[in-house]
Symmetry: C3
Subunit: 210 residues, 3 copies
C-alpha cells in the first residue's frame, strides 16, 4: 500500500514544502491565528494528495507516516519567515515560483499513483490535475473564496497537459522516472510560459458577446 | 466492481448530460473561462456519483472508464450551444427540465448502487439523495454560494421520496428495473408538481414567529 | 467492519445529539426551510465521522445502521424546541455546553477508530481533530462562511490536545476505555478553561506588526 518509490518521495517532499508555503502565505493575509495559518498551509499541501488517495480508494499516505507532516510544517515556517523578511509574501516571485513547483510536483505524484492504481487514461489525467490543484481549491473554499482556478489564469490547464504528457510517455517505457520527469517538466514549463506571456483562456460569456 | 447493468448505464448517461448542461449554464453566468465552465459542468455531472462511490468505498466509476466523461462534455457543449441560440439559458424551461431529469436519474443510480453495496434502508435513501444533489452542492460551493438546496424549493425532498419509493418497491421484486423505474418516475413527477404548484417547505424561523 | 465497542457507541451517541443541536441552531438563524435545518444539523453531527471513515478507508458507519440517524434527528428536534423555549439558542449556554460535549465526544471516537485502523501517531491526532471539527467545518462551508475554527478561539486545539492525550495514555494500557476517558476529559476541560479565560491563539499578522 505504501509507495516507497524514491522518485515519488522526492517529488512529493518538494510539493509539500512549496504548497504549504503558498497556502500559509494566503492565510496570513486573512488575519488567521497561528492554528488557522498552520491548517490552511497543511490543507494546501496535503489536500490534493489526500483527495487523490480517496479517489483511488486507499488510506491517505500522510496518515500512515510519522514525518511527512514535517515537510508541510517546514513550508508554513518558511512562509512566516518570509513574512518577516519581505513585505507581501503572497505576490512575491518566491511564492509564485513555489506555486509553479508545487503544481508540477503534485501533477507528477498524482499521475504516478493513478497509473499504479490502474485507472483509465482519463483517470490518470484527472487524478494528476486533482492532485495538483485540489489543495489550493480546498484552501480557497475554507477561505470562503471562489476557487481561483475557476476564473483565473492558465493554471490547472498546465497540470492537465502534464498529466497527458505522463500518459503518452508511459506508453513507451516501463519505468516511471522518465514519464515523471516529462510530466514535471511540461507542467512547470507551460506554467512559466503562461505567466511570462500572461496567457488566459477566453471567458465563454465573452466569446458569445463578441 | 464495475456495474454493467444496462438500466444503470442508460439512466446514468441521461443524468450526466442533463446535469453537465445545468452546471455549465450556471458557470457561464459567472464569467468563468472555458476551463472553468467545463470544470463546473463536469463537477455538477460527476460530483454526486463520485461522492456516492466514495461513500460505498469503491473507486469512482468515472475514473475507470474512458468514455463516460464524454457524456459530461456533451452536456457542456449543449449548454454553450443553447447560450448562442437562446438568451438566458439557466432560467429556460430546457434547463429546468434537464435539472429535473438529472435529479431523477441520479436518485435512481444512487439507489441502485447503494442497494447493491448492502447499506441499510437509511443508507439507500441517503445515498440516493446525495447522488442526486451532490453535484449541484459541490458546484454551488465552488461558485461560493450557499447550496441552493438548503434554502430553496421542494428539491432534494423529491430525491428523498424517490429513494424511499425505490426501497419499498425493491422489497417486492428481485429485479432492479422496476424499483429503478418507480424511483425515477416518483422523483420527476414530484419535482414537476412542486415546480407547477410552487411548493415550498416552511422556514423554521417563520414557524416560530407565526 | 462495524464497531460494537459500547464505549464507542455511548460517546458517539452523545456527540451526535450535541452536534445536531448545535448545527440546527446555526441553520435556524439563516432562515433555512425545515429540510435545510435538518440537513445542516445532520451534516454537523455526521460530517466529522463520515470524513473519518473515508480517511481510514471504510464505509461510513451511519450508512450501515438503521437507527444512528435518530440521534441526529433528536438533536435537531431539541434545537427547534429550544428555539420555542428560549430566544437566541445559538449563543445560549446550553448550545455552548453541547458544542464542548460534541467536540470532546468526537475527538474521542476519532482517536478510537484511528488507533484501531493502525495509522501513525500523527494520524491518530489528525483523525481525532478532523472527527471533532469536520462536521462544523462542512456546515460552515454550506452556510457559505469561513470555517469558524480558522480564525476564532482556542477550539480545534482542544481536540488536538485530546488526541495527543489519547495517544500517550494508550501506550500504557491495552484497553480503549482509559485513553478514551482521558481524551474526552482533556478536550472538554481545556475547552471550558479556554472559554472561561477567553484564550486565543495570536494572529500571525499581529505577531509581525508588533
Amino acid at each position: 500500500m505504501m509507495i516507497l518509490n524514491p522518485v515519488f518521495e522526492v517529488v512529493n517532499a518538494i510539493g509539500l514544502v512549496a504548497f504549504a508555503l503558498v497556502g500559509a502565505s494566503k492565510a496570513v493575509r486573512e488575519e488567521f491565528d497561528l492554528f488557522g495559518v498552520l491548517i490552511v498551509g497543511l490543507l494546501t499541501a496535503f489536500g490534493g494528495g489526500t483527495t487523490r488517495d480517496l479517489l483511488v480508494d486507499r488510506m491517505p499516505l500522510v496518515l500512515q507516516t510519522h514525518w511527512n507532516v514535517l515537510f508541510g510544517v517546514s513550508g508554513v515556517v518558511l512562509a512566516i519567515g518570509l513574512l518577516y523578511a519581505i513585505d507581501v509574501p503572497d505576490e512575491h516571485h518566491i511564492t509564485v515560483g513555489a506555486d509553479a513547483a508545487g503544481l508540477a510536483a503534485f501533477a507528477t505524484t498524482g499521475a504516478i499513483v493513478a497509473s499504479e492504481a490502474g485507472v483509465s487514461a482519463f483517470g490518470v489525467v484527472t487524478i494528476a490535475t486533482i492532485n495538483a490543484v485540489g489543495g489550493g481549491v480546498l484552501a480557497d473554499i475554507c477561505l470562503d473564496r471562489q476557487p481561483f482556478i475557476l476564473f483565473q489564469d492558465f493554471y490547472a490547464s498546465c497540470a492537465v497537459l502534464g498529466g497527458i504528457s505522463f500518459w503518452i510517455v508511459s506508453g513507451f517505457t516501463a519505468s516511471t522516472t522518465v514519464p515523471a520527469a516529462v510530466c514535471a517538466g511540461t507542467t512547470v514549463f507551460v506554467r512559466f510560459v503562461a505567466i511570462g506571456r500572461n496567457w488566459r483562456l477566453p471567458a465563454v460569456s465573452g466569446l458569445v458577446v463578441d
